[in-house]
């Protein structure tokens, strides 16, 4: 199953999405800040013989989900405005819990508030895992945090670790008498500029601590999905055939975020 996540920054990018979906054989599209009519995107996909469905929305309108699997494959779980949990019945005939997120920007939230929000979020993900009796969980979206930020790494936060072997071997750890289960965060592999794709979001300001490039758009997985995750497929997209998503300075030029794609079996 191949995924595309893109915070499109309220820009009109239906053509670009259609091309990426077609060329990369995407099965599930998740978009943040998509303000256009989803039916226009469905029509554009259909014109390329791509038969997609809009997954019904209840209260989480910050994220738009489309799939070539019918909505019946998506069982709704808990949600707020910032995330929505779905159990997906996959073509491999098993069930995977997918959490789509678009957390609020750091600009509108203090670091403490963001940490509180993260703790509440992960509590509800664990609640969903208990309700659905399913620990094969994948979280994807715009976390508005870098992989190395406290909220992403701390045991009391999302607890996503950069080493798959450690996550598979330990699965959880105890801190001050409480058990915290882990996620594997493959996005650490994409930090740095070796492949000329240093991040998904560029930010510059006259402040002391600035990374310029950030990886805010991420996918993280529970230990049970590690062997099914195709690490080679994980990619930040800067170009798709004739469409460039970055400008001459190599910064995002359509949306202010770059999309990510990945696949799992």
């Amino acid at each position: 199953m191949r995924f595309l996540f893109w915070n499109v920054g309220k820009k009109s990018v239906i053509q670009e999405i259609t091309q990426i979906v077609k060329n990369r054989e995407i099965d599930i599209i998740a978009l943040a800040e998509f303000n256009e009519n989803p039916n226009d995107l469905l029509r554009s996909l259909y014109s390329e013989s791509l038969d997609f469905y809009l997954i019904p929305r209840f209260g989480c309108y910050r994220i738009t989900i489309l799939s070539n699997m019918s909505p019946g494959h998506f069982k709704p779980g808990g949600e707020t405005e910032y995330y929505t949990i779905k159990e997906i019945y996959t073509p491999a005939r098993d069930k995977v819990l997918i959490v789509f997120v678009h957390f609020p920007s750091k600009m509108f939230m203090s670091q403490d508030d963001q940490m509180d929000e993260t703790r509440l979020f992960i509590r509800e993900v664990e609640q969903a895992e208990r309700e659905f009796k399913n620990n094969n969980t994948l979280i994807v979206g715009d976390f508005n945090m870098n992989p190395f930020d406290r909220g992403m790494v701390a045991a009391s936060g999302i607890h996503s670790i950069p080493c798959s072997l450690t996550v598979k071997q330990r699965q959880q750890r105890k801190v001050k008498g409480r058990n915290y289960t882990m996620f594997y965060n493959p996005m650490w592999n994409l930090l740095g500029d070796k492949d000329n794709k240093p991040g998904t979001y560029y930010y510059s300001a006259a402040e002391h601590l600035i990374y310029f490039w950030n990886i805010l758009d991420q996918v993280i997985i529970r230990p049970g999905l590690i062997d099914r995750f195709d690490i080679e497929s994980l990619e930040i997209i800067t170009r798709d055939n004739n469409i460039s998503l970055v400008n001459d300075k190599h910064r995002p030029c359509l949306s202010d975020h770059l999309p990510i794609v990945f696949a799992f079996k």
Binding site: F58, P76, G77, E79, T80, E81, Y82, M109, E124
Partner: protein, 141 residues
């Protein structure tokens, strides 16, 4: 030995309902209005104490809207928390409701049962809550 405790030791002010009790009453009304299709639940988030610079609030609850025919679906509309004194009670919302109600801070403080009644009326009349409730009804048919 005779009972030395005064008969007036336990004085309960019937007007001082807890925020949780007030919400539980509203949950019954929601079930009636939607003919049992939509309901709500209050869940204790006791393992989630909220701290600010002065206090730790151990009475923390989440208010979840659910659908009778949507087995595992829930929408967390807000989180509320208070100390043992019941009031003030603080509310935390996502950005949509904050924007609609003109709440600029991360939490909104309610000082009394009367204030809470007025405030809940505004919250339940917000477009966001209406959107969630009507979506649940639409998708339950």
């Amino acid at each position: 030995m005779e009972n030395l405790w005064p008969s007036s030791l336990i004085e309960v002010d019937s007007n001082e309902a807890s925020p949780k009790t007030m919400l539980e009453e509203q949950i019954k009304f929601l079930k009636n209005v939607t003919k049992d299709v939509v309901y709500a639940e209050i869940a204790e988030l006791s393992d989630f104490p909220i701290e600010d610079e002065l206090f730790q609030y151990d009475f923390v609850y989440g208010f979840y809207i659910k659908g009778k025919y949507l087995e595992k679906y829930s929408y967390r509309a807000f989180v509320l928390y208070h100390q043992i004194s019941l009031f003030p009670v603080f509310f935390q919302f996502d950005t949509d409701i904050n924007r609609e109600l003109g709440i600029k801070k991360n939490s909104y403080k309610v000082n009394s049962p009367k204030e809470l009644q007025d405030f809940l009326r505004k919250v339940f009349s917000s477009n966001k809550i209406k959107q969630v409730v009507s979506s649940i009804i639409r998708l339950s048919k």
